[in-house]
Amino acid sequence: MKVLLVDDSGTMRTIQKRCLNKLNVNDIVEAEDGVQALAAFETGTFDIVLSDWNMPNMDGLSLLKEIRQRNTTIPVIMITTEAERARVVLAIQAGVSDYLVKPFTPDGLREKLERWVGCNV
């Protein structure tokens, strides 16, 4: 299980990385924005993408659309403060696989990630 973890906040990447580590997922590539993430995606092979929405240079929605042009099946999970129905609809239309709204509890994050990387537990 190889994860592409995209968030401009190092704090948020640390929280998610630790949660993944507890689920026995340790092969994690980090990116600070959509541009870095897309470069990593094009040169690597990943099983799942976890992405923030609001980021500099390229946001998560644009990244999602770019990924879907290249790969229609890889799970892409948005972990974001964008909670309005209209935003969620935009993400669904762009092909998001699942959605977690910040703020989240530790259990909420674990349950969401476990659902997608559970085969490693």
């Binding site: 401009d8 906040s9 704090t11 929280i15 403060t81 910040k102 703020p103």
Partner: protein
């Protein structure tokens, strides 16, 4: 502007725009930091206060655009900002550093995002947070904006949130 007009505007702004910010602050502090945030004051940052309105510690600034354009500022004391980082990821910082600023920016992002979701009818967007720190800094709002100052106390220490809009839609 008369006192009655200010009072009327304040009441409307409080109900429509400030209550979602208060609710969002409580939710984010509770969910992410395991802390209770209690509002201890609500005031207008008047012109007199603007001239002496310097802050210490760490301030995270988020721009709001859409049908209402404005700014939200979270100001924490140095010790409170350091405690935010410790509660989020357990890292002990001796002073305000890049990690502390990142943590404060992310908490502010969540407060603004959560409040924005409760104001969905205005189709708001929020900017990436900018974080400033120092013993004596001032965050300036546009001259036509009178920000509301929300004072809080919490398990982490006291803090304030200032929020101001320049083009409030008539509700």
């Amino acid at each position: 502007m008369s006192a009655a007009v200010i009072a009327s505007a304040t009441s409307r702004i409080t109900a429509e725009y400030v209550n979602p910010v208060i609710a969002a602050t409580r939710t984010v502090f509770s969910t992410m930091l395991g802390a209770t945030a209690n509002r201890t004051g609500l005031s207008l940052r008047t012109e007199a206060a603007l001239s002496s309105g310097t802050s210490s510690g760490v301030s995270a600034v988020i721009g709001i655009s859409g049908q209402a354009a404005g700014t939200l500022v979270l100001n924490l004391t140095t010790s409170t900002a350091i405690e935010v980082l410790r509660r989020l990821i357990g890292t002990e910082a001796r002073d305000v550093n890049a990690e502390v600023c990142d943590a404060v920016g992310e908490i502010t992002n969540m407060i603004a995002g959560h409040a924005k979701a409760q104001l969905a009818k205005y189709s708001l967007s929020i900017s990436i947070p900018n974080v400033v720190s120092g013993a004596d800094h001032t965050v300036h709002f546009p001259s036509n904006v009178i920000p509301m100052v929300l004072s809080f106390d919490s398990d982490l220490g006291p803090f304030t949130i200032e929020v101001g809009f320049s083009n409030l839609p008539v509700g």
